[in-house]
Symmetry: C2
Subunit: 345 residues, 2 copies
């Protein structure tokens, strides 16, 4: 065996590696040469020789000398890239999921919460969903609704379909004139712009130009700016976290994983990684200690032809990839379709 790294594996080695991975995923136990030679027309000794070579090039490893082999993370990666059979999801399953989104009537985050819930149910793992984030998102509509004499609800709608509202308390009476001024300012400075186009400094400049109306308008504009920021940042929704408690492999990291889940930005980066639609992150590939024994499988959804978010599953390394991957892809496509319908009107 010279230069294992770039060597093309023999068919028999591939078959053995695939068997080890599949058995390991099923049982969680190291796999010995004896059970493997049943499926191949060779003796256990031959299998042992092959396994020993697969160990040398880092695809298999041994928990200890007298145990069978388990696939290394590198081995799982090779299996996924080259050996894993890819079944398509059955039409029955597809429609079962689809039907849960029919007649959907709500905001993007509700759809994504549902998607995460379904995904968690199907997979038995934790599921993550990201709300749409589009670098080109802009404010589509701004509305205000007076709730009390000095309290208004400000509502913002983004081009991504995201809707957010926030209460704002004013320093003075909010009459028709002030409302009109607010709408004019919104139309002139906010609508059609992205949240990157303004910040507190811009608001201050704007406020100065308003003269004696500044005192009245500033809280409203600050709230609007905050809203735009919030509506433009991608939120993460997690469902079924507690299911991770059931996996022994994850036990040493489960607390850290839970802590990571609070760090939306980190998770979003992980889930959105890469430019491919579907992305699988095996253990240490995440470059995050909390997930060193976890697998993250995610699939981006497209709204209006652009990838703006993703849904995914977080589980143990020995997750049932070939069953779960098509399900995640299916849901990401359904979510994309539903969200696309929402904004096109």
């Amino acid at each position: 065996m010279i230069e294992g790294e770039i060597m093309e594996l023999s068919d028999r080695k591939k078959k053995i590696l695939a068997s080890v991975v599949e058995r390991y995923i099923q049982t969680g136990e190291p796999v010995g040469s004896k059970v493997l030679c049943e499926g191949l027309a060779v003796s256990s000794a031959t299998v042992r020789n092959e396994m020993s070579e697969l160990s040398e090039i880092g695809y298999l490893e041994q928990p200890h000398t007298s145990a069978g082999r388990i696939p290394s993370q590198k081995g799982i990666r090779f299996y996924i890239n080259n050996l894993m059979p890819m079944y398509d999801i059955s039409n029955a399953d597809r429609f079962a999921v689809q039907s849960r989104f029919d007649n959907f009537d709500g905001e993007p985050k509700d759809i994504l919460a549902d998607a995460a819930k379904i995904l968690s149910e199907i997979t038995g793992c934790a599921a993550v969903a990201l709300t749409p984030y589009d670098i080109n998102a802009f404010i589509k509509k701004v509305e205000m609704v007076p709730l009390g004499s000095r309290t208004v609800l400000i509502i913002i709608m983004m081009s991504t379909g995201v809707i957010k509202s926030k209460i704002c308390r004013c320093d003075g009476e909010l009459d028709i004139k002030n409302a009109e001024l607010f709408y004019n300012i919104a139309a002139a400075y906010f609508i059609g712009r992205s949240s990157d186009d303004f910040n507190i400094a811009v608001i201050q400049t704007l406020a100065v130009s308003l003269g004696d109306k500044a005192l009245m308008m500033t809280p409203l504009l600050v709230t609007l700016t905050e809203l735009a920021k919030e509506a433009s940042t991608c939120n993460i929704i997690i469902d079924g976290q507690s299911k991770l408690l059931g996996f022994k492999d994850l036990e040493p990291n489960v607390y850290n994983m839970f802590e990571q889940f609070k760090n939306s930005a980190n998770i979003a980066r992980l889930i959105n990684k890469g430019s491919e639609k579907t992305n699988i992150i095996i253990g240490r590939e995440s470059m995050n200690r909390a997930f060193e024994n976890a697998s993250i499988i995610c699939s981006k959804y497209a709204v209006g032809g652009r990838y703006v978010g993703a849904v995914g599953v977080i589980g143990p390394l020995r997750i049932d990839y070939s069953r779960i991957i098509p399900n995640i892809i299916n849901i990401s496509e359904i979510v994309g379709n539903v969200l696309s319908e929402l904004i096109e009107e």
Copy 2:
């Protein structure tokens, strides 16, 4: 010792019980007679006799014959009711928390989320907060905002200060006339009423009376009904769940506890239990297996002079009661004040 149950404990027994509870809370280890006799001017044998009697009446228990004593749940209950010193929270601490709510500008659920967060930080345990629930709550205001030609956002504001909004998709163009009709219906049938006053059946009757406008109005009214229901049900907010993973005592139940947290109604019932402002639930008193090894400490907050919700902490039985209780009470009072200010205008 005749009839232990109703016997008044001697001062020495009280002192011993208190010492056992306090030491156990601090260390988590069974407490032996040797360490206890240091604080009392008696020998360990005397302490052993006393402990043996405290065990007989069920205030102490032994993990096994040759271990020290730990307080039983009944023992902890007695300690809390009769022996625990109650310190008041320092002014510095009080103001530190108060300052985090100054200039608060938002919805009740944001305040409660902040309260839960702070409580979880202070206590190192999971914290729960209930959004205001008032059996006498009524709809104070209804608004609608068109977002697209067939999409409107309906907004509801309750007498409790709770604000909710929801998107509704209509079957036809929503012109001024339809909007006016909607506002008229809202004023006539919804505002001033509680969510118990209407349901799908009422809406159907109402729809029939609308004649050819029914098709247009029904989705709006259904959404409004759903909103009223949602805004009237008490939501629970949980923070710091993952902190429970750190407590060994809770380990066997932590998965079940996490599952329970999804059942808002159950948790709400538990947290709102009793008529006292402050409520402590020791283990099995919760009548819920998931919490049989947990303590729940909660304190109700008042809005406009009525208890409408509560904040609380969930942790192990050996939680530091005397430090945590005043903190929970403090936060519940601050939350009540902030929420009361919000609705009075």
